[in-house]
């Protein structure tokens, strides 16, 4: 694994990271090795974010760097992908709520931890979740909501999934006000306090 690439990413040196990626690939490094270095770097950044050493703008920039590296790496990967995913997750902020920051962080952390995340954005209707779970075959749904008004839409989304016969799909919820009482109220399978918790829950279900 290239320490040079890991350092470039964790130091937020955007251009260096892309240049090093090209150099590594041109020098015969395998795409998988490059992606492993990325995952290692993102894990470090995620950890620093959790401990308060890194900040949100850095997380966002890291995401952009990762996207640029992926764009360089992907064309060189063979069809069928060595990039095996742990599972598919449908994620979104529920109907009536437009808060996206926490959801974006959760989506980002799930992604770098090996899940294939379909992010439906904010103010997502229950039917949209149902439709997307069906079309992707995802077995995990993540519902985000910051406002207390998000509790009922969460409940409705859980009910809509059940009503559609998607009983093997697990639902996790998260957001500012969420606790065990709210989990019970909404009928969700689990709740998480932060992005790392979301990753732990998803891994336990994968």
């Amino acid at each position: 694994m290239s320490q040079e690439l890991i350092d470039a990413i964790t130091d937020m040196r955007e251009e260096d990271a892309v240049a090093i990626t090209k150099k590594l690939l041109d020098g015969g490094a395998s795409p998988v090795a490059v992606l492993d270095a990325c995952r290692e770097a993102m894990g470090i950044i995620g950890m620093r974010f959790e401990t308060g050493e890194s900040f949100m703008p850095e997380l966002i920039l890291a995401g952009e760097i990762l996207a640029q590296i992926s764009a360089v790496v992907k064309p060189r990967m063979q069809q069928g992908g060595e990039d095996k995913k742990l599972g598919k997750i449908v994620l979104g902020t529920v109907q009536g709520d437009i808060h996206d920051i926490a959801k974006d962080i959760v989506g980002f952390m799930l992604d770098i931890n090996g899940f294939e995340v379909t992010d439906l954005g904010v103010d997502v209707a229950p039917e949209k979740f149902v439709e997307t779970v069906k079309s992707t075959g995802a077995k995990i749904v993540g519902l985000s909501g910051f406002l207390t008004l998000a509790f009922d839409p969460m409940k409705h989304t859980v009910e809509a999934l059940k009503a559609a016969g998607l009983t093997d799909v697990k639902v996790m919820i998260g957001g500012g006000q969420i606790d065990e009482n709210i989990r019970q109220y909404t009928g969700a399978d689990a709740y998480g306090k932060d992005a790392m918790a979301a990753v732990a829950i998803a891994k336990s279900w994968a």
Binding site: F55, M56, P57, I60, G96, I98, I101, V122, D123, L147, T148, L149, F151, D152, G176, Q177, Y185
Partner: protein
């Protein structure tokens, strides 16, 4: 928090020329307040109300932050306890029209309503209440739950709200537009967008007011109090004349006093000097 009261001096109201403060502390999305609501700890709430009133809050924002089923009861409980110790008008902070209807019946002074937006349903539901009671109302520069990305688009929403307010007979002077301060973490232009929106409002609707939820601007950043303070100063130059903030935050209070002075709004510097005598600029011990 080292307040003036702790130094043996009363926590006094600072006279300000035109900056009004909406005290943000009684908000059920804060853990300690949520606990007080759940345990019906009236003393805790009364204390927050008295401290904010003494620090010069023009309104006390009240957000139960609880489940919609419980919200009306919790709001009424909060408001009644607050009104038992201070006369400061309440800002009823709820997205739930039912809770709003119930809360407005128990307030003693004309309350502020926090908030409406360009969303048609909320305009139709809330503007009649605002008109009937002559309430000031905070109007967010967003439409149907989407926040426009440009100042131009946010101003279009504001124009729509003004037109609708006029239909219901709400005067410009009761409209407090919040141009929305999105966090700089995700868009480093977000403060500039807010300033530009403010300038447009000042220009087109000189009677209308501007307000801002202050703390969001620095979300996700270190050293948040610095970002909040300098953002507030620059926003005041762009026309901001009220803000939702923590009135017990001495640094913010000092920033407001100094900014009003710098902007030429403090005749003979008297408010500033008086605030100094009251110890506002003293170094915390």
């Amino acid at each position: 928090m080292i307040g003036l009261a702790m130094k043996g001096r009363p926590y006094n109201t600072y006279e300000r020329e035109n900056m009004k403060i909406i005290g943000e502390k009684i908000n059920g999305t804060r853990k300690r307040v949520a606990q007080a609501i759940a345990e019906r700890d009236a003393e805790f709430i009364k204390d927050l109300a008295q401290k904010q009133a003494a620090a010069g809050a023009t309104w006390l924002d009240v957000n139960a932050g609880t489940h919609p089923d419980k919200e009306p009861d919790d709001l009424v409980w909060l408001i009644e306890n607050i009104q038992s110790v201070v006369e400061t008008p309440i800002s009823i902070d709820s997205a739930n029209p039912k809770a709003l209807q119930i809360a407005i019946k128990v307030v003693k002074q004309t309350p502020m309503i926090n908030s409406i937006s360009g969303e048609p349903e909320r305009l139709t539901n809330v503007l009649p209440i605002v008109a009937e009671h002559g309430c000031p109302v905070i109007a967010l520069a967003m439409d149907d739950k989407k926040i426009p990305e440009t100042a131009e688009k946010r101003f279009e929403v504001i124009q729509k709200i003004v037109a609708e307010a006029h239909v219901h007979g709400v005067p410009d002077s009761n409209l407090y537009f919040d141009p929305l301060a999105m966090t700089l973490s995700t868009n480093t232009n977000s403060a500039m967008i807010a300033f530009e929106t403010m300038r447009r409002v000042r220009q087109e609707y000189p009677e209308a007011h501007l307000t801002i939820g202050l703390s969001n601007i620095s979300f996700g950043l270190p050293g948040r109090s610095f970002v909040n303070r300098y953002f507030l100063s620059l926003a005041m130059q762009a026309g901001l004349d009220s803000a939702i903030l923590d009135p017990l935050d001495r640094e913010i209070q000092a920033a407001i006093m100094a900014t009003e002075l710098v902007l030429g709004r403090d005749k003979h510097c008297l408010n500033y000097i008086r605030a100094s005598r009251k110890g506002l600029f003293d170094k915390p011990e």
